[in-house]
């Protein structure tokens, strides 16, 4: 079933020093034309994975396949993979045009052909007329686009991008996110993208692989990661959530369990395998919690006291003390004002079973 699979990591591990694994048993299949993002905190092994794919590092164990063919013995220059480096790696002694022509010239293309392709690539990233500048004379965003154009100009079917927008300011980053999406859609290339910014990953990707300490925690589409995190780390890394530490008191039908947390008993979806008495982490999204709902509408109801409220434009962020914690967060959209809520009020909170996920317990993360 390798049909349509472009890149395949099969049990890939990597260790630089022979002792610690920087990447551990990576299994990942990327479809042709897919935009996959490796998302994870600094040091989680994202660059290492790209380096192995690009051919600058060899896996310690496992196999990487490109279109079904193992590439262990293929040197980087023969893999035909375009790469955008974290700090662009533009050649400062060449003009923009020279940078773009480089991959074509080393392939022995005729000068006319080179010029034509360089022009086309510059048009693609909207930098017509910049061919004679040096990289040093460009702004960060322009350099970024040159780097992308250079990775695309020799028409690779796979492009790797290592935190390409890390050095840009916020508004430029958003613009470039859109540009990269547009280019991806125009050309239909497969993209493996690396970032540690979850927002960026959510905006751009078809699928996201969340990495932590060299281990993939979850691979899913952005909605899936947000709505159905399978690990406490994913739940905490993607978007805001309330994480409650508790102990399973009862297993119920339909993958539901009852968990005791901070003196309250709540029912949660059993995502992690657990038995009675096990410790779990409950994850509840702040916007899925209703304040003072109709009696009996939600399975889970607790009482809480408002500690503090923050107005954030389109929504209100309310901090309450509930379930034995003083940092229980609820957000409500700013459509009805704050409904006469005041600090110190006692309210009831309610949420459904499916919005409350029992995940693996993590020490030190709550």
């Amino acid at each position: 079933m390798t049909e349509g699979i472009h890149v395949e990591f099969d049990g890939v591990s990597k260790s630089y020093d022979g002792r610690t694994l920087v990447v551990e048993d990576l299994n990942l299949r990327i479809r042709t034309g897919e935009f996959v993002t490796l998302l994870g905190p600094s040091g989680s092994g994202k660059t290492t994975i790209l380096m192995m794919l690009a051919g600058f590092q060899a896996p310690t164990a496992g196999e990487i396949r490109l279109e079904g063919r193992p590439i262990q013995n293929l040197p980087a220059r023969k893999r035909g993979i375009g790469m955008v480096f974290q700090n662009y790696a533009l050649f400062p002694h060449m003009t923009v045009g020279g940078n773009l022509a480089f991959p074509l010239e080393v392939r022995g293309l005729a000068p006319d052909e080179c010029r034509e392709r360089v022009d086309r690539a510059l048009r693609l990233v909207r930098l017509e007329g910049f061919a004679d500048r040096r990289p040093g004379q460009l702004s960060g965003g322009q350099q970024q686009r040159v780097a992308i154009a250079r990775a695309l100009v020799f028409e690779p079917s796979l492009v790797l991008m290592d935190e390409p927008l890390g050095a840009l300011d916020r508004s430029l980053r958003e613009e470039m996110q859109y540009e990269i999406r547009r280019i991806h859609q125009t050309l239909g290339v497969t993209v493996v993208y690396v970032t540690h910014d979850q927002q960026e990953a959510m905006v751009m990707s078809d699928r996201i692989a969340v990495l932590r300490g060299g281990v993939v925690e979850q691979i899913a589409a952005p909605e899936g990661l947000y709505e159905e995190p399978e690990r406490a780390f994913v739940a905490s890394f993607i978007g805001e959530n309330n994480r409650l530490h508790g102990r399973v008191t009862r297993l119920l039908d339909g993958d539901v369990c009852e968990v005791e947390t901070g003196g309250e008993r709540v029912r949660a979806l059993r995502v992690v395998e657990c038995a009675e008495g096990d410790e779990v982490t409950l994850s509840i999204r702040p916007e899925r919690i209703a304040i003072d709902p109709e009696e009996g509408r939600y399975t889970n109801e607790v009482t809480a006291v408002v500690v503090d409220m923050t107005f954030l434009g389109d929504h209100l962020r309310i901090r309450l003390s509930a379930c034995g914690r003083r940092d229980f967060i609820v957000t409500i959209p700013n459509v009805l004002g704050h409904g006469g809520l005041l600090v110190g009020d006692t309210v009831r909170l309610g949420w459904t079973v499916s919005d409350c996920r029992a995940l693996n317990h993590e020490r030190g993360t709550e």
Binding site: A54, G55, F56, P75, A76, R77, K78, R79, G80, I81, G82, M83, F85, Q86, N87, A89, F91, P92, H93, F102, P103, V106, R107, R150, A151, F154
Partner: protein
């Protein structure tokens, strides 16, 4: 309004005070450099064109010779003045210096002068021309008087002409020295060639080392840098003599080759006290001056660049030639310039291991400073060398740009 006023206060207030303080802090250095470097340099350059010894000792003779048309022998008053002033010079004990100066232009003059002055002691009256020709035949030769006339000039290009193997004939025309007296141009040329060879060897040996250090992880890089610098901590003399131990006829390398049977005992290689010795030892001594600038430039070339080139399809060779080498050029330029400039002025090593045919222009300058005491010529040779270095520097600046040297 306040916005317009503020910048002015900022720029004027702390600016001048800080500048004054900064100047105060570097004053000791400026004084030091001025006294120990600039002053000797200027003195030597002045000496190379300014030589007042003869003019001061024989003022009237020289001024009368100035009006002499140069044909035949000079008129009687010149002889009279010479008699008086030679006597005076002998009493003032400056005669030796004067004779030495004239002797450089016309050899044999030293003894003529001393003998003449001694003979003149007992003679009261002229006709002086007869007296002089009675004392020594040389005074009947117009060349003698031309020699005095030419050395009597306070400001002279003689030393510079001499330094480039030229001379001024009595009629004022400039020609090349006779074949057997042409030494300096050949020596300059040899110095240039040897320095170029040494620079090239240093580049050949230093480039890979610098690259290795620049690529190594920080700890190893530091260790390697220390190894490169170790020679700096050993005296130049020790390093040079170590080469003598290694290279001499009964030295380590020859012994080894003989033991291995590669050469016979009577076929021992002459690797020292000749040009080979000079080149080997100087390459070793100057290598760090190549490695350090290269390293400092290579360190700034991002590692990603070679990876980027590879991912773009370049072979290692293409990646090196088109991406790495061009970016390391400022270091190559700086290192080569440094080594070359140091090499053309290098003295100790060639003096110790160069033998007679491994000498460079520096040896000749030292000879004129210490042995022949012709400081004017030494200054002129140094001046030519200095000019060469400046020309090189300007060329480098034009081609590469000094600010890109990357020594910072």
């Amino acid at each position: 309004m306040t916005g317009a006023r503020q910048p002015r206060r900022y720029s004027a207030g702390p600016g001048s005070g800080a500048r004054l303080r900064a100047f105060g802090l570097v004053t000791p250095l400026l004084l030091f450099v001025g006294v120990t470097f600039i002053a000797p340099l200027v003195t030597m350059l002045v000496r190379s064109v300014h030589d007042p010894v003869v003019a001061d000792a024989l003022p009237e003779t020289v001024s009368l010779l100035h009006d002499w048309n140069g044909e035949g022998l000079p008129p009687e008053p010149v002889y009279a003045a010479a008699a008086r002033e030679l006597n005076q010079a002998r009493e003032d004990r400056t005669l030796g210096q004067v004779a030495g100066r004239v002797n450089r232009v016309q050899s044999g003059m030293r003894s003529v002068f001393t003998r003449t002055a001694r003979a003149l002691e007992d003679i009261e009256a002229g006709p002086w021309r007869d007296v002089f020709s009675g004392i020594n035949e040389a005074w009947n030769d117009p060349a003698t008087w031309h020699a005095i006339k030419s050395t009597g000039q306070r400001f002279t290009a003689r030393h510079y002409l001499n330094a480039v193997d030229m001379q001024r004939l009595p009629d004022g025309s400039v020609t090349r020295q006779p074949e057997e007296r042409r030494i300096y141009l050949r020596l300059f040329w040899r110095t240039l060639l040897v320095s170029s060879a040494i620079t090239f060897l240093c580049l050949l040996l230093g480039y890979p080392i610098a690259h290795l250090i620049a690529q190594a992880p920080p700890r190893r890089a530091n260790l390697l840098l220390v190894l490169v610098l170790v020679p700096f901590w050993t005296s130049l003399l020790v390093r040079t003599t170590a080469w003598i131990v290694l290279l001499q006829t009964q030295g380590v390398i020859n012994d080894l080759l003989v033991t291995l049977g590669l050469i016979g005992d009577d076929g021992r290689l002459a690797m020292i006290y000749n040009m080979t010795g000079t080149i080997v030892a100087m390459t070793h001594v100057l290598l760090p001056f190549m490695v350090l600038p290269l390293y400092s430039v290579m360190r700034t070339i991002p590692r990603d660049h070679m990876n980027a080139a590879a991912s773009l399809g370049a072979t290692p060779r293409q990646a090196f030639l088109r991406v790495y080498w061009p970016q390391s050029l400022p270091g190559v330029g700086a290192g080569s310039l440094l080594v070359f400039i140091l090499a053309i002025g290098f003295y100790i090593t060639p003096a110790l291991v160069g033998g007679s045919d491994g000498q460079l222009i520096s040896g000749m300058i030292a000879y004129h400073m210490q042995t022949s005491l012709n400081w004017g010529l030494a200054g002129a040779l140094g001046g030519v060398l200095l000019l060469g270095v400046l020309v090189l520097y300007v060329l480098y600046d034009r081609l590469v740009g000094v600010e890109r040297m990357g020594l910072s």
